[in-house]
């Protein structure tokens, strides 16, 4: 009572009280500290790894495009743009290198052979980024000079020449001084129909190939002195360029097939950061809530002894701050340790050229973000202290919270801070808001689903007493079943989202570059050359018929060409390659329609078309739509009867529109073949093909395939690493959430034991209760994760989606095992003790 009188007027902090509270909540406090530490470690780690990876990917993108800013035109740069480039170089803000690229027929000096080559004339300093590897191992800049060129192996093989021989290009005679093994800027240019030749700019006038009447790609590559000025300088240059004639791009937005993958990868890294942030928050919130729920009665008793709300709030704020500070310190130390030993820990797991730098800024950012997350997610549990009334001692249920203006202001402020954090991580305001909306929706849906499931369960009549009791225990007033299910479902859903998105990214980009990917494309094979071509190329070759046509209308509505042509990506107004066949390709699956083609009663396919999902989305086309095509002057009307999707990409041929054979067999067509030939054999095969069929064009993509494969392997490691790290951290947070909520359920054990139930009975009830909790949480998380991951893949990443049901089943099993095991392990010590001890322990 004396203590009560002292509390009443006291404004200062009572050290003894605080110490006592800290000591008595040691188990829960340890979980809370671990949660804060883990959150911080994962945030600091993901944050700093991300910038390291970002640096590495940006480096790759620069090497692929050859500069920070790329100016591109089919004409000499306009005077305005030229002046702008000169001013940048004169002010030492940028280094510029010019390149002229074109095709030309190179000839042997004795005129005994000629070959179409991809000529690139470059100024000193090329390449600004990336590298050109030569067979001799010498530096590119030391080798290429006036009269001296380096060539791709294809030139030597196809013209039967050797290093040291002479080659005529235009009006100039050159000495071949080396062979190009690798050029980092090449993979971007996917379709090169001739082997490469690199020439010094000093020979440009003597070659006499670049003049009025030439088709040349003029490129100026810029390396900026200040990497942060890339976007602003590019915008400035765009203002000085001729619209529609000159293109100003940065390494980030330059058009290339790989760019989309880079974008998607960076987005995935942002997603990981955001999910880690939320997982950390959930861990903190649930562990603190568990601490405070257990102390609710104590608070009521303290309040009844005269302590004010402010007294409790101040002390518990300090209590949380002390625990958070310990957690932060532990997190920072662990973060530094993880960072310090990362190269040792993950050697061979991450690409070798990723350099991990210890950045104080990254660390500080991690700490600040961690503390903000702690503040936001501790606010709600702490607010509850404010509302605890002495009367709670006499009631079983928790006290209701009073929501004042301050409460709402705090929520708005905290939510805004969280929004700012999300936007910072995702890099875009609109994406940030989409995400927030999505997460709020996720919370709402899980809440609703839980309510609905619990309501439905309450209506079922269970016969077995064990099941009945387990269910009643879950449904009784005052139980926190709903919050437990939500607390468990959200992190599981977030982890599953990461897994599913990672899996789909991998499926679309990485697994699409297997070892047997095509290395040689052959175009323009004529109908009467099919048999002879097969004999020449050898092996089992699929020849794809190609029929050029335009899409005129969809359901009688003409394709709006003006609108279509404005689309940045593919559009419906261009000419399409149609094909015909009767079966799906190995990499195709049906996503709508029962079979590729519908058959009539005679078993013959009717006139119809099968669409690839990408083109179906482009024109909002679906099964049953009527499309009209113009096939080189002839009109054809067809019904859409199936929609396909692809499991591989980029290097494999694909067709938007497939028809039954009988309807297009008579249409004018050429054939296309994608062959897998070992790279050293390609030039010889190309020679044989061109000698026998001069009309057939060959495209050697062996180098591209190899380079793409190498890059995808590297990126695959990055994706694996991030997903694994996040899943590990998230898994630990889930375990801590289970541990935190476990105390609530242990209380139940105590009551059963007091009422005389034996250990087996209690264990059975407990098992059923935990089983149900695990099942509900995992099923709900799978439902929302599937919806969220599909939306992300569909709307943000633009890739096809595979639901990965196998993994989902594993998740259900693992969650149940986790929840049941941890729940039972926690209750066993209590079951073994006598009822009197329970009551003492409970209080």
């Amino acid at each position: 009572m004396t203590a009560g009188l002292q509390w009443k007027g006291e404004r200062v902090i009572n050290g003894k009280f605080l110490l006592r509270e800290l000591l008595y909540s040691k188990k829960q406090a340890v979980i809370y500290i671990l949660c804060v530490a883990l959150s911080l470690v994962s945030l600091v780690a993901v944050n700093s790894f991300r910038s390291d990876i970002d640096r590495s990917i940006s480096g790759d993108a620069r090497a692929l495009h050859g500069g920070d800013i790329i100016l591109h035109s089919h004409y000499e740069l306009s005077p305005g743009l030229q002046r702008a480039v000169v001013s940048l170089t004169e002010e030492n803000r940028a280094t510029a290198v010019r390149a002229w690229e074109f095709y030309s027929v190179a000839r042997k000096s004795d005129e005994s052979g000629s070959l179409l080559c991809n000529i690139k004339v470059v100024e000193n300093g090329y390449p600004l980024y990336g590298r050109v590897d030569l067979a001799s191992g010498r530096e590119f800049s030391d080798v290429v000079d006036a009269g001296k060129i380096v060539v791709g192996q294809g030139v030597l093989d196809r013209l039967d020449m050797a290093v040291g021989d002479q080659l005529l290009i235009g009006s100039a005679l050159f000495e071949i001084v080396d062979v190009i093994l690798y050029e980092s800027a090449k993979p971007v240019r996917f379709f090169n129909i001739g082997p490469p030749v690199l020439v010094s700019y000093k020979d440009l006038p003597v070659m006499d190939l670049v003049r009025q009447g030439s088709r040349v790609e003029y490129e100026t590559l810029l390396k900026m002195d200040d990497a942060n000025s890339v976007d602003s300088v590019a915008a400035w240059l765009r203002g000085r360029s001729l619209d529609g004639q000159e293109r100003v791009e940065t390494f980030r937005d330059a058009g290339s097939g790989i760019k989309r993958f880079f974008d998607n990868l960076l987005f995935f890294l942002s997603l990981i950061s955001v999910c880690t942030l939320l997982l950390a928050g959930i861990g903190i919130e649930s562990s603190l809530s568990a601490i405070l729920r257990l102390k609710e009665k104590n608070f009521a008793i303290i309040r009844s002894f005269g302590a004010t709300r402010a007294y409790l709030l101040h002390h518990y704020l300090l209590f949380v701050l002390i625990l958070s500070a310990v957690g932060c310190a532990l997190g920072v130390v662990s973060g530094l340790l993880v960072k310090g030993y990362l190269s040792v820990l993950f050697s061979g797991f991450l690409p070798q050229d990723i350099v991990f730098r210890s950045s104080v800024a990254d660390l500080l950012e991690g700490v600040v973000v961690g503390l903000m997350v702690v503040l936001f997610f501790t606010f709600l549990p702490l607010w509850r202290i404010n509302n605890i009334k002495p009367v709670v001692i006499f009631r079983r249920e928790s006290s209701r919270e009073e929501k004042t203006t301050t409460y709402y202001l705090c929520i708005v402020f905290g939510f805004s801070a969280l929004c700012a954090l999300l936007i910072r991580y995702l890099g875009e305001v609109s994406t940030g808001f989409y995400f927030l909306g999505g997460i709020l929706l996720l919370l709402l849906i899980v809440n609703l689903m839980t309510r609905l499931a619990l309501f439905s369960l309450s209506k079922i009549q269970w016969r077995r007493p064990g099941s009945r009791l387990a269910l009643r225990s879950l449904l009784r007033p005052g139980n926190v079943t709903q919050s437990i299910v939500v607390t468990l479902s959200i992190p599981i859903a977030l982890l599953l989202i990461i897994y599913l998105v990672e899996n789909n990214l991998r499926g679309t980009y990485i697994d699409s570059f297997p070892a047997d990917a095509p290395t040689l494309f052959c175009l323009d094979i004529q109908k009467n050359q099919q048999k002879a071509f097969r004999e020449l190329a050898g092996g089992k070759i699929t020849l794809h018929p190609v029929i050029r046509a335009r899409l005129i209308s969809i359901n009688g509505k003409a394709v709006n060409r003006g609108r279509e042509m404005k689309k940045r990506r593919d559009n419906l107004a261009r000419e399409f390659n149609l094909t015909y066949r009767e079966a799906l390709l190995e990499d195709e699956i049906l996503v709508a329609g029962k079979t590729l083609f519908r058959k009539d009663e005679k078993g013959e396919p009717v006139l119809q078309v099968s669409l690839l999902d990408t083109v179906a989305e482009m024109g909002n086309m679906t099964i049953g739509d009527i499309l009209q095509f113009n096939i080189q002057g002839v009109k054809m009307e067809v019904e859409v009867t199936s929609i396909r999707s692809r499991t591989r990409s980029m290097l494999y041929p694909f067709f938007y529109f497939i028809f039954p054979e009988k309807y297009l067999k008579g249409a004018p067509q050429t054939y296309f073949a994608a062959l897998h030939v070992e790279s050293e054999e390609i030039p010889f095969l190309e020679n044989r093909i061109v000698q026998s069929f001069p009309n057939i064009s060959t495209v050697n993509i062996a180098e591209t395939a190899k380079e793409m494969g190498r890059m995808m392997q590297k990126l695959s490691k990055i994706v694996n690493f991030f997903a694994a790290f996040s899943i590990l951290a998230g898994g630990l947070i889930i375990v801590s959430s289970i541990l935190a909520t476990r105390f609530e359920r242990i209380k139940e054990t105590v009551y059963y034991k007091i009422l005389g139930a034996d250990s087996r009975f209690v264990l059975r009830i407990f098992f059923l209760e935990n089983l149900l909790l695990g099942l509900l949480s995992s099923v709900f998380s799978i439902a929302v994760a599937q919806a969220a991951a599909w939306s992300l893949c569909h709307f943000f990443l633009g890739i096809s989606y595979a639901p990965g049901w196998g993994a989902c089943l594993w998740l259900i099993g693992l969650t149940i095992i986790f929840v049941v095991t941890l729940g039972l392990l926690g209750s066993i010590p209590i079951i073994r003790k006598k009822p009197g001890q329970f009551l003492r322990q409970l209080n």
Binding site: S73, H74, Y75, F102, Y103, S104, V105, A106, R107, S114, L115, L116, I119, I169, G170, S171, G194, D208, L209, V210, R211, Q212, G213, S214, R215, V216, L242, Q245, R247, D524, Q526, K527, N528, R548, R561, G562, M565, A573, R574, E575, D600, E601, V606, L607, N630, I631, Q632, G633, V634, K635, M636, E637, G666, A667, P668, Q669, T670, P694, N695, S697
Partner: protein, 226 residues
């Protein structure tokens, strides 16, 4: 069930069967819709590659569409069909010439070879292909306007010389109407080309249509005088 009722059901079923059967046969007949000639209408088929197809533009902006409008506005009863195929070589065109003839053309405007040149294909082969196409058109009694092509200079002086000589030589050896250069006044002009610097834009096609018009008119006269 009385007799009338049975009869009604029988008739209904018979009707349904007939409906299904006619539905099937209509489906099979639908296939490809070659448009038939209207009375006295001349069919002019513009065959060629992307330069004829109108690559990157709406079909209405391509030269065959502009030419068709111009002929009709001048009172000629002509229909111009665009049978251009982007990225097609002379070999491809030779393979589909029967398809083109299936359109029942009175006049063919033949523009091909640019893609062969850009791919560095042997000019000898290009010449042979075009010659074969011209023979086939002559066999089918189709009046032909051959549009000549000139190759870009960067391919090299020797190749360009051999390539550019193909068209005048073919024009000399056969009874065709010859337009020396399809891209006259348009080639290499940035204001008349798309961003790729190669394909004409809408303004470029207007000039091409104007340039080709007298040759087509000559073909129309020739046809009418036959």
């Amino acid at each position: 069930m009385n007799k009338h009722k049975i009869m009604r059901i029988f008739l209904l079923l018979a009707g349904l069967i007939i409906l299904i059967c006619t539905g099937c046969s209509q489906e099979e007949e639908k296939e490809l819709m070659f448009e038939s000639n209207k009375e006295g209408e001349l069919i002019i088929v513009a065959v060629g590659d992307s330069l004829t197809a109108g690559y990157g533009l709406a079909e209405e902006e391509s030269y065959p569409a502009i030419l068709g409008k111009k002929l009709r506005s001048e009172g000629y009863n002509c229909r111009v069909v665009n049978s251009g195929v982007s990225s097609e070589t002379s070999s491809g065109l030779l393979s589909r010439i029967e398809w083109v003839l299936g359109l029942n053309p009175d006049i063919v405007i033949l523009e091909t070879g640019a893609n062969d040149g850009l791919r560095g294909i042997d000019p000898e082969m290009v010449e042979k292909n075009i010659r074969d196409i011209l023979f086939r058109l002559k066999d089918a009694e189709v009046i032909t306007v051959l549009a000549g092509m000139k190759m870009v200079w960067n391919l090299g002086p020797l190749y360009v010389k051999r390539f550019n000589a193909i068209y005048p030589r073919l024009a000399d050896e056969s009874d065709i109407i010859f337009m020396p250069f399809f891209l006259k006044d348009v080639a290499m002009k940035s204001t008349l080309a798309l961003g790729d610097g190669l394909h004409p834009n809408g303004d470029g096609y207007k000039i091409i249509a104007d340039n080709i018009y007298p040759y087509v008119l000559e073909a129309v006269m020739k046809k009418q005088n036959l």
